[in-house]
Subunit: 283 residues, 2 copies
């Protein structure tokens, strides 16, 4: 069945209230549309957890800086709706910019500890946009569960901390990275890649797998591992490292000898397209 | 009947959920305790609007800067509970600092347009603390109505904008200033005043009434009005003007010829105690 498409905040709120009166639990997957298997895995997980499911499709302007890809960010609403129908999504929330950021908009939510690390170094205003739109969506949808992908590991951590700090009732679920058969992490931005770039982009996943193997063999010299990754990545003519970081998975501070769970995160420009990927290393 | 005192977020949330399941509407008055007639007027207004009422008592550390009066802010929990009992408050939410800001706290809510104006010039981090704690309390109490006093006009405006911008479901009600019989605006900080200071503090209200009278007579020279107020205030030896501002009541920008509703706001140090007051002037 085609999901109900709701475009106004008031109507979305009424829908959620009605479900709540009926005692039905709500799973929520916030997206920027152009859905891929990663999103669909979140939708499926949500349907296991709750009685009804809401997917928001909104390309949030406040998380893009001037010069980033806001205008060309890929969109295909009809295809998204078809995919949501196949996954038995109940409601697609699809608001306009005027609905979400009306004239005189002035309130923002900010994580002050983690927003300037990793991706925040290259995209200093990005996470403020993310926390702000997610706070808004949490208040509008008022879900029992909200699902995020681990591909955006920093985002997931920042949102988990936001939900805890600001006492949102919504429980945050973070689901594993979904990959293409050849290992490239699913991302709407993969669409930007030329065939040659698409091939070279495999080096993100390959270099993560290589470090995991070395880690299992006992290698603990993070500088050596990092150097090896950088060399592998930059050997592909289309690839340029934005960052490769071994950080504490909770604080995103540089991993030290006492870090039990290390997040190895990287961002790589493939041509003009910036891709991210990551893995967790346990000590 | 003595109100039920709830100290944990989880228990407060359960209480609100239960009321909601019973179809009962909730009025919420956030306070820092040491209740006075201003607070009680908000509680009464809340009881008119909703089925049940919650008062929070929490001296929020994040809205005080180092060197401000956090430690000596007046507290009298027993008296507050007695007053709440007289007003038939159902629940007093009385959390600890550890409950509200546990270790690792890192998420803040900020109004980026209005927080550095008026009181924000003297207290640059104050409103970030206010919006953060109010966002938290809104999520915890999940009320239908929240009530604020117009004495803190800038706070009320910032919170009204926050509720709209972040799509909180709670409706913001702003109630008139309550004054002592001699005209001094009610404030917990009035307790700090010596008898001499208490007498001289009347100049805040008197100078506002004087401007209102001149305004009714047609005076529109804001500089002249401001100068007259400053002279009157600083003629009292204990009083020193922090600011006197005529601003647009919605934007808090300096009032221009096109401002229809002007907020005349002032802050005055009386001894070491900083008092605020305000009035609205209609063109």
């Amino acid at each position: 069945m085609t999901p109900k498409v709701i475009k106004t905040i008031a109507a979305m709120r009424r829908q959620s209230r009605q479900w709540q009166r009926e005692g039905r639990s709500i799973a929520f997957v916030p997206t920027m549309g152009f859905l891929h298997e990663g999103h669909l895995s979140l939708i499926r997980k949500g349907r296991e957890l709750a009685d009804v499911s809401v997917v928001s499709i909104y390309v949030n302007p406040t998380q893009f800086a001037p010069g980033e890809d806001l205008d060309k960010y890929p969109r295909d609403f009809e295809r998204d709706i078809r995919l949501c129908a196949e996954e038995q999504v109940d409601v697609v929330f699809f608001p306009s910019n005027e609905e979400m950021y009306p004239g005189g908009y002035q309130t923002f939510v900010l994580n002050e500890s983690l927003s300037d690390k990793l991706c925040g170094r290259t995209r200093p205003t990005h996470f403020k946009g993310v926390t702000t739109i997610v706070a808004k969506l949490f208040n509008i949808v008022d879900a029992d569960y909200a699902l995020f992908g681990r591909k955006d590991a920093q985002q997931a951590l920042i949102i988990r901390n936001m939900a805890r700090d600001l006492n949102f009732r919504t429980e945050i679920i973070v689901a594993p990275i979904v990959r293409e058969p050849d290992g490239l992490a699913m991302s709407s931005r993969n669409k930007y890649l030329s065939p040659v770039q698409r091939q070279q982009a495999l080096v993100l996943n390959e270099s993560l797998r290589r470090v995991e193997a070395l880690w299992r063999e006992g290698e603990r010299d993070l500088d050596r591992l990092k150097k090896e990754m950088a060399t592998a990545i930059e050997s592909r003519p289309e690839c340029r490292v934005d960052y490769i970081s071994f950080v504490d998975a909770d604080t995103l501070e540089n991993a030290g000898d006492d870090s039990k769970k290390i997040l190895l995160a990287l961002a790589v420009f493939v041509g003009n397209t910036r891709l991210i990927d990551n893995t967790l290393l346990q000590r």
